[in-house]
């Protein structure tokens, strides 16, 4: 283990660190948007779209991200759809993440106590009002644990971007190991880099989860 090797590699790792953060942030935000849209379709059981989204969620959740990325990056150019590695990475991550988020939000909406809905109906609310004022606010609070798990999962999944040569953290570490053969040093920096990203995220999300728990009633 040599400190010099580590300090020399830090500027390169810093760039990769920024890229991992940036790809994770874009991927997670887009996944949440896709997830919310899909879960709304599922909640209101919009005909046709409902079935399409069920199929999408099952396909995305039951196949590995690596194969999804290979498909986007290597197979799509054959049919004339060529995208840069980073665009493929983000599309792949959102394809996967959107499905996980949709599943989480749908589960949250389904978890809202049925007495709440009955009470809403007794107050004379129509379906839209029920959704807007009763089901969604509580449903989102209930889906916080799933959201937390998904955010952590998606950040970790960006490591798979290394297979399509996006210079994020894992890819950078592998490149450096290939060039200089100092695996212990670079792997140590890599693990610490993920810890620096994930520990604050985990603590923040756990805090939010506890705060939001007050948003549910009826138990």
């Amino acid at each position: 283990m040599s400190w010099q090797i580590i300090t020399q590699s830090l500027p390169i790792f810093l760039k990769a660190f920024e890229l991992t953060l940036w790809l994770s942030a874009v991927g997670i935000i887009c996944s949440i948007i896709v997830g919310i849209l899909c879960s709304l379709v599922q909640y209101f059981k919009v005909p046709v779209l409902h079935q399409i989204i069920t199929a999408y969620v099952e396909l995305a959740r039951n196949t590995p991200l690596l194969i999804q990325l290979f498909f986007l990056y290597y197979a799509f150019p054959v049919i004339g759809l060529k995208m840069s590695a980073q665009v493929c990475g983000i599309i792949g991550l959102v394809f996967l993440g959107g499905a996980y988020m949709a599943e989480g939000f749908t589960g949250g909406f389904a978890g809202v106590n049925s007495s709440q809905i009955d009470d809403g109906k007794a107050l004379g609310m129509n379906n839209l009002q029920l959704a807007r004022y009763v089901v969604f606010p509580q449903g989102f609070a209930l889906s916080m644990p799933a959201l937390t798990a998904n955010v952590i999962f998606l950040i970790k999944e960006t490591s798979i971007f290394s297979v399509i040569a996006i210079p994020e953290l894992t890819n950078t570490a592998l490149d450096l190991i290939g060039m200089y053969y100092r695996s212990n040093e670079y792997l140590l920096v890599l693990v610490i880099a993920y810890a620096i990203i994930l520990i604050p995220v985990i603590l923040l999300l756990n805090y939010l989860e506890r705060k939001v728990r007050y948003g549910t009633f009826g138990d």
Partner: protein, 225 residues
Amino acid sequence: MAHSAINVFFAGNNFSRILQGLWTSVWIAGASLIIGLILGTLLGILRTLPNKIIRFILRLYLEFFRIVPTIVLLFLFYYILPRTFHINWPASWMAVLAFSLWVAAEFGDIVRGALESVPLVQKESGLALGLSRVQLLRYVLLPQAVQLELPATINLATRVIKTTSLLMMISIMDVVAIGQQIIEANNQKYPTAVFWIYGLIFFLYFIIDYPLSKWSKQLAAKQNR
């Protein structure tokens, strides 16, 4: 050309090679799950003990596996074991070791959660009957915990199966690596082979994982009722 590219599956011994690759992925997933579940049960039981030091160490162990992405975990074992500890195992054994420890960490947490959610009255009744700690665990807590933890365990299995797609990163000839070789070898004759091969692998993973995740969801729904 699309009608002819599908022939890439049957050219030479391509199809049997893909099945061979699939078998590599399957046995690694299977072995890791078996070892991981046994080890995880022990870890889960240890985590319910009142000893603070054991609980703290096991908690650290779990958090390590939660933070490090699986692909990085594979590389940790692949590089550090031979170079630092001079353990020269085949890559597939290293993968089994890495996956087993990961499964043990996650399953330990599932077991702990299940053991803790067995109603307290069950434990007290067992003690009142004069059961020893081991008997209590064996006849009262574990049987009930197994049922509670089944959906999460099946979920974990689907994740392990999906994660086997990373095996080619440490030069194991899994289904993805063999698919890549076939694509490269047939690039001239079948330019769209890439679509069919990755399509087939995508489908193979789906038909293994989809029934499992469906089963897990049904079990969970039954428990919540």
